[in-house]
């Protein structure tokens, strides 16, 4: 009895495999039909991501804290309330107590509504301030980005042209990438329930425009360029030639490509 069962079951298995091989062409047509329903994108106009390498740099000494960049980004990308793809932080370092051997007093950091309406309120009287400055923050375009490393499905990734993007039609909204980003630049969009972050205005830069924040910055604190196609007197090349630069939280090994000039050790 058991012998017959074994032989029959083996023959059944072989028949199944043969049938599967014969059904392949039909399966492929069927697959195309199913996937048409899943795919949803229009064809692009001749932009080749491999021919570009975008980068943004930030000059802290030129930021005046007007917040136009934050507003520009919110308008451009429909960023939801209380979430920010880019924001400005104000650092106020007070003078040390008279007679002490400290080099500074306390450091107060704030970012009222991301800085989108500027910084109308003065937290510390002018006389007590040792130094104060504004630091714009955004996605650091990490070479070894921890966010794309931890995405379980492949919904966030570094594109061939150097931008870390989120595929919001594929993201499952688990939030791992938001936890993994050391810079706090990611969030879960309450409208789409997916991860969201600065996309370096990918839809603008692929059309030859500048990111919204760079476009609207009145003081050239944000410098943008294409490392593979520098323009004559490229501002990005000039920035790197003339400044000593630094990336944020380098000790974590994320290899942030966004370069800051003029940072203070108090900046996190």
């Amino acid at each position: 009895m058991s012998e017959q069962t074994t032989r029959r079951s083996v023959l059944k298995t072989l028949a199944g495999i043969a049938g599967g091989i014969l059904a392949m062409p039909a399966a492929q047509t069927c697959k195309a039909a199913v996937q048409n329903k899943l795919a949803n994108s229009p064809a692009p106009p001749g932009y080749d991501p491999f021919k570009h390498s975008w980068l943004i740099a930030l000059d802290v000494d030129r930021c005046i804290g007007c917040g136009r960049c934050v507003e520009a980004c919110i308008e451009e990308n429909n960023v939801p309330e209380s979430h920010f793809r880019t924001w400005i932080e104000r650092y106020v370092i007070t003078k040390p107590k008279a007679g002490s051997s400290e080099i500074r007093g306390e450091t107060i950091v704030d970012s009222p509504d991301g800085g989108r309406n500027g910084f109308p309120e003065e937290l510390v009287p002018k006389e007590d301030i040792l130094k104060s400055f504004f630091v714009p923050k955004l996605c650091n375009l990490c070479q070894s980005s921890p966010c794309s490393q931890v995405c379980p499905v492949g919904a966030t990734f570094q594109s061939p042209d150097g931008v870390v993007l989120v595929d919001k039609s594929y993201c499952i909204g688990c939030g791992f990438c938001v936890q993994a980003c050391p810079y706090g630049c990611r969030f879960i969009n309450p409208g789409t329930h997916t991860a969201d972050k600065c996309s370096l205005c990918y839809h603008r830069i692929t059309r030859g425009l500048k990111p919204a924040c760079v476009e609207l910055c009145p003081s050239q604190a944000r410098i943008f360029g294409d490392l593979k196609n520098p323009v004559p007197d490229d501002p990005l090349q000039r920035f790197f030639n003339n400044n000593k630069v630094e990336g944020l939280k380098r000790n974590l090994g994320t290899e942030p490509r966004v370069a800051y000039s003029g940072l203070d050790e108090e900046v996190r």
Binding site: G118, S132, R207
Partner: protein, 152 residues
């Protein structure tokens, strides 16, 4: 009857069940994996196009300069040369697409957004204290925004 096929019935049933489940899994995977996945890396390559398909909001200075070359030339001579037109004049897309639609008039409180004194602002920035600097007057009475170096 080959000897290796003489497996106890429990094992046979379990092996068949396992093969069935695994085949089901690979079939589902074949049909449901989205197209273009894995082309450039572990992501949907079509996502690049999806993201790039978003409609830009700000027109960009280059669009303004196409028509308003005289203003652009004047601007390029002064301290405001680095500013984009939309930074002060607001979003210009409507006007670029339909030049008959004019942009709204500007409120001079816009000037204070950048020029009001703050101890956090860098020293190179021209700043004024609103209470001390000709209080009660409007900025444009003396200053020309497109050519800020010229003071009548």
């Amino acid at each position: 009857m080959p000897r290796f096929l003489k497996m106890p019935p429990q094992i046979v049933r379990l092996v068949l069940l396992t093969i069935a489940i695994v085949c089901l899994f690979f079939t589902a995977r074949y049909f449901l994996t989205p197209p273009s996945f894995g082309q450039y890396g572990h992501y949907r390559a079509n996502a690049l196009q999806d993201i790039a398909a978003q409609r830009p909001f700000w027109a960009g200075k280059a669009s303004c300069v196409e028509c308003h070359t005289d203003h652009a030339q004047k601007l390029a001579k002064g301290d405001h040369k680095g500013l984009s037109c939309e930074a002060c004049h607001g979003p210009g897309r409507q006007h670029v697409e339909n030049p008959a639609e004019k942009l709204p008039k500007l409120n001079v409180s816009l000037c204070l957004r950048c020029h009001e004194f703050s101890p956090s602002r860098p020293k190179w920035m021209h700043q004024i204290n609103v209470h001390n600097h000709y209080p009660g007057n409007v900025c444009t009475e003396c200053h020309v925004p497109h050519q800020p170096s010229e003071v009548p």
